[in-house]
């Protein structure tokens, strides 16, 4: 792998790790399950995500 491919791989990994890629996956899922309903926009999804996180606190260890 050359430098550019490495950088791209790291970028992809970080997107997955931080959950940034979640939206794409969510849209894919949404299309499969509700093909007629419009998928939420990125902004709407972010609000949903924040609400969900609000109700499901995640502990961080020491």
């Amino acid at each position: 792998m050359n430098a550019r491919q490495w950088l791209r791989a790291v970028g992809r990994y970080l997107r997955e790790l931080t959950g940034e890629a979640e939206y794409d996956r969510y849209c894919g899922r949404h299309r499969r399950h509700h093909p007629l309903a419009p998928a939420p926009t990125r902004r709407e999804y972010q609000v949903l995500r924040a609400l969900h996180r609000e109700a499901h606190p995640q502990g961080r260890c020491c």
Partner: protein
Amino acid sequence: MPATALPEADRSAPEKSRISARSILLWTTVALLGAVAWGVLALARGEKISAVWLVIAALGSYAIAYRFYSRFIARRVLQPDDHRATPAERLEDGVDFHPTDRRVLLGHHFAAIAGAGPLVGPVLAAQMGYLPGTLWIVAGVIFAGAVQDMVVLFLSMRRDGKSLGQMARDEIGRAGGAAALIAVFAIMIILLGVLALVVVNALAHSPWGTFSVAMTIPIALFMGFWMHRIRPGRVVEASLIGVALLLLAIAGGSWVQNSSLASTFTLSPTTLVFCLIGYGFVASVLPVWMLLAPRDYLSTFMKIGTIALLAVGVVVAAPVLHADAVSKFATSGTGPVFAGSLFPFLFITIACGALSGFHALVSSGTTPKLIRKESQVRMIGYGAMLMESFVAIMALIAAATLEPGLYYAMNAPAGLLGATAQSASHAVAGLGFTITPDQLTHAARAVEEQTLIARSGGAPTLAVGMSEIFSGVFGGTAMKAFWYHFAIMFEALFILTTVDAGTRVGRFMLQDMLGNVWKPVGRVNWKPGIWLCSGLVVAAWGYFLYSGATDPLGGINQLFPLFGIANQLLAAVALAVCTTVLVKSGRLRWAWVTGVPLAWVVAVTFTAGWQKIFSDDPKVGFFAQRAKYADAIDAGQVLPPAKTLDDMHTVVTNSTVDGVLIALFLLLVAVVLVNAAVVCLRAVRAPGVLPTTEAPYVESRIDVPEQAGEALAGARS
């Protein structure tokens, strides 16, 4: 861990020789390297050796343990089945449950379990020399810590991601379950209080540190708005901007320190305590996207980056260990940093990094819902814990590279050291080590701090060690002060994230418990209920933080054993649940895999707890300490290090509270253990296997392995 490089050699060729010649050669080399490194550590007496030997010994042992022991546990004891669908596959909802790439999940899980714990404990334990700490970190993680994480992860995964408390209730019984729940809550409060105290000790009277840590709040708010409002969902770019701003804030601290703003950011420990309490409350009632989520990303990036940097630094700079291999305090038990003998106190001082009960909460919450294939519990549960253990080894190295004189001048209680370089130098000489007042002032000036005397809590010591290592590789002595404050900021960032998240988790637990008494409090969106419960949780850890910051005997020195015992007791609960499940599911033959670490951690915590309660030595026993100071008050005397009668009363109150708490913890865990023992006995006597609480088998449809692994020799016996 080069986990991906480990060959799963024998899957495809079950009939031929089970292990290829290449694999034998590779693992013989690894074993030899590790053995040589351990040999060097064991034989070095009197002469100074390089830290690289510690690194090789640890990594060699981890590789062997991962390849052989974790594989043994997986194949013989847990028997994961890749034909069975995991909850991530069965219950996929795109939110909580979804099959995640194992490398991504490893990153997630590691970020959730690794925090300030493995950085603080080993630094304090360096008082007994680097060798006992290293042995415990390596042996502890291989046979106890990583085993606990992996087995809990597996059990929770088989139960659709149930929490440790629920599993305790289902597998052990109502009494055990309730005791486990209360223990988890109480232990979390202590943990938050002690971690916050580490931050207070690191930032007190340090305008540079205080400024840069304070700046994390506006930076996190900015990132929050970026990710939520300006460019929704762009986490990576927001985090990169955040990290850049953070580095700027650290550099800016140097400028603030020399400007007229310096006095604004020079805060006493008590002021910092109230700032942290206020911050903790506000952070836990604000929406998560504003402060908590961005801070979490920032902390993850800094964590992974700095740990990688530290690993490179240790290998490239190859610092020499200046601490003794085994110090005299290991045998006498009279060390100034924490009192008590090597057994049991070393094993509770180093909790995270060797065995940490708190991981059982992470391993039984989010991670099991994201596992793609059952066999991956080995890499994620066992592997991530080995990585955390390596962080602990590096922290130990950083502390052991300091001159012992400086180490004790930084870590002994303030009451012993006094306030000036002269008094500290004198006190260190009394401990049997040397550091001149000039050296002490010089060391403080090198990192641009007013003083390094009695900066207990582990963070400043680690920061000095890290600044030595980093400046040897990047930037030279001119960068020393920058690296010192970089390390302080990095630890404070972790801890504040843990405090935010912990307060929130505590609030939910409290709402859950109080909701049984009065319904409205339990509703998660009723604002007064949220405020009340947040306030209660913050007040609870705030109490320990305040009493620690004002304790004349040194808060860390008094409270850290409490924290260690609490964390290890949680491990005892987790291991008890694991052992009970193994026995109940007809695997009595393999119950020693979690049973032996359980017996060990019970022996450690109950001995430590017993000594903390009943020891006659006022340095060790809380009640002996209480009696000593109470008698002195009756006689109208003021005993040093207390300076006034008020100080004396503080000591009496604190030691009473600490002693009662330890007794309460032991009692709760004893309830869980007795209940578990009864259940195990019943299971052994019962004919056949008891009913299981596992989710039923469902055939997997993703990445189904082509054929099963070969039959295990003796599997049918």
